[in-house]
Amino acid sequence: MNDISVGIKKVLFVFLLLFIVVISYVAYFEVYVAPKIVNNTDNKRLWAKRNEVLRGTIYDRNKNALTKSSRVNTLTQKREYTGGAVFAHVLGYVNPSYGITGLESKYDQYLMGANDMSIVQYLKEFIANKGSVKKEDKKGNDLITTLDSDVQKQAYNLLSNTGQKGAVVALNPKTGEILAMVSAPSFNPNDSELTAQWKSISTDKSRPLLNRAVSGLYPPGSTFKTVTAISALENISGVMNQTFNDTGGIRFNSKYALNNFGGEVLGSINLKQAYIHSSNQIFGTLGLTLGNGKLKKTAEDFYFNKDIPSDGIVIDKSRFPTYDSSEPGNIAQSAIGQSQDLATPMQMALVASTIANDGVMMKPYLVNSVISSTGNTIMTYKPESIGNVTTPEIAATMKEFMRGVVTDGTGGNADISGLNVCGKTGTADHQDTSNARPHSWFIGFAPMENPKIAVAVIVEDGGQGGIQAAKIAAGVIKTSLSK
């Protein structure tokens, strides 16, 4: 009998040990394993928590709704993008399978942030509803963006009508507000379409998911002569009065030569004429006179090789190369936006915008204000300067130059009577595919006296800048200013 009591005690002890082991394991799980797994993408709780709040609406600058969210059931909601493919890149999408992109991602915290109800208000509603304030009633904050739907649509239509890939950026030069940002090809960000087409759009060679306006890196071509001209005006005294002899090209050695577009010979000209007619020879020579260091400094003043401060978007770094003085060919090429120069359309829009704003670069931003679901303003964005890139005098000179491009030079197609459009064309060679046509570029702003819009347009493989890109720029400017 007695030995059985001993046995029972031993069994009790073994079970106690086993219970302690299990409890310890659960504790270990909670401390070491849980933090690692809880944010796994297939943990449905992450989206369920997000869906407790009905996502806020994104408006354009005139309070036209660009998105619409509605409840499907307690834990799911439907997000509709009323603009479809037109706004796909700038707004992005929010999708349980494919994640969050664009502005949706940048302003996620605001859009899914619950309302600003005070505790007293909450208790009042709690008792009035005879229960907790319904989860379904929680609404996220709304965003009033800087986008102008009309400009955006016009830019999208003109660009997609070309059938080419490309991008359009339109800014308010005085504030940095992004009026339009378009990338082609685009895609339909609405839930069912995105799911249906995901496989094709995520593998397509034309990369429809890429936002070319901020992530497309292109050789800027002759539009970069704007930066070279500013560098020359800043660094070479008396350059305005200098006369250059354009013979159609320069030859560095048996391998390297730099020729004017179409082999044009411009003869005896000054800086303004060289800019207006886009002389590769003269600007290549200016690049050599300046040297890589000075030109690079001016380019970096424009935020080449640097992260451009911005709000609501992510801009890829544009690049300006470093060359030794023993590489005159590359230095000359880099002065006309070729060689290893790479710029995003947003970068080039900022170049135009800075000249339009008398040399002051404004931080590009996408959201004017955040409004709670009850109508209170939670945040208002104030325009912010990100640098005095050049002097007002040089900016004024450049305005004259750019006006000349449209009236007497390569940019005639951008002219709109009565609006005094200023601009610069670019025809950028590239080796994306062999024998490809060059990219067609145009940067500019209008009106000259009181600039209200600055644009950058690129049409990939679009040929001469003065044709496709200039026409799109004119259309966008016209839509914006005709109001």
Binding site: I8, V11, L18, I23, V26, A27, I37, V38, K44, K130
Partner: protein, 401 residues
């Protein structure tokens, strides 16, 4: 006198817990859920009344067994009501039936030692119940074939088989003199385990084994038998691993559940997310997402409770089970005859092993096997079986005083 005071204090805290948790449920529903308050009240009255009867008419027994059982059932009913109110009402009915059976066993059953002679009746009943799903062709429920349907009524025969197997083993082992008396029960246990594996009910197999070994050790007091059993079990486990795909699958999921999280290991991964999400203190009742976990009010109720009430509540449940287990084993210590003693040890081990296997399973500490958390999980069979076992333990505890 002191002991009565302690019991009453514990009961008062239990009522308080019951009222607070159902008041919490009342608040989280829109509009306020009056039914929750009524149910909370009913549960309090039930617990109070049953404890009153046991204390009043059977003052010699161990009152803590019933109190712990009530606390655990109460936690379960709160969680089930939050997950699925209609199931909670059924669960209350099961709870009432369970308590009635508990009291009936204590009142009606004559002295237990008389039952020692029914050894072969227990043996036959064990085999009948254990083979029932295999012979009748049971439907597949959550991957196991251990349910039997009679018209609109369905139950798990293995649960009843457990009760009778313990009774049989207690009866057989009580005649133990030397090794020869162990051959017959060993054979019966092996046959039972074989049926369990065939029905893909690996959890029950593990529990059957744990119960048998515990009883064997208590009976013989010889550690070498335990060792032999473990070796035999390992060999059996290895053979079934080689023979059966479903056994290999369980082990594969246990080793690394992540690559199969969308299909084979979906359940355990969801359960792990659930426990991880709750953290130490939980999200609060009604504020988590236990709805994402499959079978969240039965096999995975531990995960649901941990998510909303926190892992601390999970620890509390484990401690309560251990205390219950301790009180049950204590009854064995005071029992006079060998049969009652072995019976008490068997039923205690049954409850303890079940808790260890399912809690270890939902956290992926051991391969997950679908069994219920006794008293807490939703389910009539489990609830009634557990109260039957507790009733017998209560009876034994009475005889001991």
């Amino acid at each position: 006198m002191d002991s009565i005071k302690e019991e009453k204090r514990l009961l008062r805290v239990t009522y308080l817990f019951c009222i607070i948790s159902f008041f919490n449920i009342f608040l989280i529903k829109t509009p306020f859920d009056n039914v929750a308050l009524i149910i909370g009240g009913i549960i309090c009255i039930l617990m109070g009344y049953s404890n009153f009867i046991v204390r009043r008419f059977f003052p010699d027994g161990d009152k803590y067994i019933l109190i712990f059982a009530c606390i655990l059932s109460n936690i379960g009913m709160v969680m089930i009501y939050r997950l699925k109110p209609s199931d909670a009402i059924k669960q209350i009915i099961f709870f009432v039936v369970g308590i009635v059976i508990f009291i009936l066993i204590v009142v009606i059953l004559p002295e237990l030692k008389k039952y020692v002679k029914f050894r072969y009746i227990f043996l036959v009943l064990t085999l009948v119940f254990i083979s029932m799903p295999t012979l009748l062709g049971a439907a597949d429920v959550n991957g196991s074939q251990n349910w039997v349907h009679f018209g609109g009524f369905s139950f798990q025969p293995s649960e009843f088989a457990k009760l009778f197997l313990i009774a049989y083993l207690a009866s057989a082992f009580s005649k133990y003199k030397n090794f020869k008396q162990l051959i017959e029960p060993a054979f019966i246990v092996m046959v039972s385990l074989g049926f369990m594996v065939l029905q893909k009910d690996l959890g029950s197999a593990l529990i059957f084994f744990a119960i048998s070994v515990t009883m064997l050790y208590i009976c013989t007091g010889k550690f070498k038998y335990v060792l032999i059993c473990l070796l035999l079990f390992s060999a059996g486990a290895f053979i079934s691993y080689k023979l059966f795909g479903h056994v290999r699958l369980r082990v594969m999921i246990w080793q690394d559940p992540w690559p199969y999280k969308t299909n084979q290991s979906y359940q355990v991964v969801q359960s792990m997310y659930s426990i991880a999400w709750g953290g130490l203190f939980g999200t609060g009742l009604g504020l988590g997402y236990p709805g994402f976990v499959p079978i969240n009010d039965s096999d995975f109720i531990f995960a649901s409770i941990s998510e909303e009430m926190g892992v601390l509540m999970g620890f509390a449940i484990m401690i309560l089970y251990f205390l219950l287990f301790y009180r049950c084993m204590r009854a064995a210590l005071f029992a006079e005859d060998k049969f009652s003693r072995l019976l008490a040890v068997g039923y205690s081990a049954m409850i303890g092993a079940q808790v260890l296997v399912i809690v270890g399973g939902v956290t992926n500490m051991i391969p997950l096997t679908g069994i219920t958390l006794p008293l807490v999980s939703y389910g009539g069979t489990s609830m009634i079986i557990t109260f039957m076992a507790l009733g017998i333990l209560q009876k034994i505890s009475e005889g001991g005083r």
